[in-house]
Amino acid sequence: MVPSSVLCGSNGRTRMVPVVQSGVARGPDPPAGAAGAARVPKRKMARDGAAVADDKSPMKCVTPELVAANLLFFSFRHCCRKIFPVVHRNLTLSFREPGYVFRSDMRSLCKSWSTLTKDLRRVYMKDSDTASRTWFGVFVSSTAFPLWVKSVNAMAHHRSVSFAQPSNGRMVVPIYQCIENMFSTMYFTPMPFHVQIEALYVMMAQKSLDLNTMILSCFQLHVMGLKTNCDINVLALACNGESLTSEQTLRYDSFCEFLLDKIVPADVTEKGALLHDGFFKPLKLEQVLACCEFGDTTMHGDIEKIHAHRNQSVLKNSQSVYVDLGVDGGVVTYDVPESIRACMDIKKAAAGSNKLVVDPYVCGSPETLIAQLFASQMTEEAETLRVFNQGTGRDKCMKQHQQLASWWSVAATSGTRLPGKSPKITVLVFDVCRLAAHALCAY
């Protein structure tokens, strides 16, 4: 019988260590000296070479010297990971809520968080029940509680170090008192407010807030050319007639200048960034598809009617509350994307003649169709064509912040890891079963 082996980590490399065969008593080690030297050296087996695998990154090596140089840190980590979990489980300590005091607790904090982030949460947490369950389940048990343990540990260690006394030429730290303090704090004290806030920040940044809202807002502000932002506390101070510092005044003035120019430009002849209501008049799906058929001259009459109907708002000077991106010449689609062209073909085909179905994410509604048209302009190819069609020479003086494709490919994909070009996913195609030699052999 081949002796079994166990894996053992050593300096980041995995090696095989043979162990004694089960049921066989291990004899005493041979004596050192002549007899030991006479022992036959172990033959190098082929599998020994194969067993040394380089498939793991080197592990962090904790040496006595490293621990001696960072005693406080390692004591803290030891308490967090070894002592506390054992005691906590054996005592079955529960989460202590503050009672008989007027202060913020997890329930009131959940209510504030739920109200403030009502429309800003991710899709899967949008429902208030799901959000509440996530709060009291995942958040309290695996985000807030560990942070509290770390905080209490850290405070207890700092306190014990401050009580260190010299004894026989060495500084003696009352570690026993430290651990006692730590457990009495955990047992008698509810979670402090600063830990709640810290946990809340982690929860909001990593789990609850929808990153795409931030991406889309940043995209719009960048393309519009916003250079300096103004903090909300500065705006609130200005609105309430309070005085501002010089830096706050600079920010406030810069933002107000930007905002005023977008809404009401100084020059009356200049066009502001406000869109007129005609852009947002409701359309039917067929009308949107008709607009996309601008290449067909027979459709020009219909398109002109739609244009005239929607353009009435310009004549009435009816401004909406929406601000445009402000791209020179507008985001115009000159080449209808393939997905929409397929929808047009399917719609044109006689009923029953085409078994293909319309993609609901593209042609499900007029809104999805408009969104698809807009999104198709976020590529390099579409941008090049658009710039070419909107006048020669414009590409040479195109403003840097109005380059839509580069923003998405550089800022969004590398800055937020928004999925860009996907890696190729290989799908295997298997042979027909009856042709495979394996099938015959199995038979």
Partner: protein, 153 residues
Amino acid sequence: MCVALPRTRSVLTDRRMTTQSDKYNVDYDPVFTTGHYFSETINNLGTAQGLIRPVLSLFGMHEDASREELLLKILGPYMKSKRITRNIPSEGAWKRKILDGVTNCFKMGLMPHMGGETTDPCGVQTVLGMDVVWLIISQVTPPPPPPPVAARL
């Protein structure tokens, strides 16, 4: 083939796959080139009333304030100090209250593009509109967070 496949349900290759090799690659578009990404984000954000309500309170305004009032409140001190006189829009949606529960923070629109020398339709213009209230709120930055406990240690 006529006997074995229907009776034993032996696996048959999909005949639509006409590749010579035994594998093929599936490519997906980047998310920002799909309309679904934009429409989902816009729908998910919706009216963002949860955040706008406390901001109005912070600015010392009532919940039934309109966009015109908000703009006048924010830009008023600036226009006064710089002696600028411009008229903030005051018709239609500018008069309606901000928390009407209808106006989304983002909205997409469309207009046939009449260009060229013949003024014939030659394209479709699409717009991504951002509500002025969301413009004001989204450009603010929160104060930096406190360092974590472990880092302080």
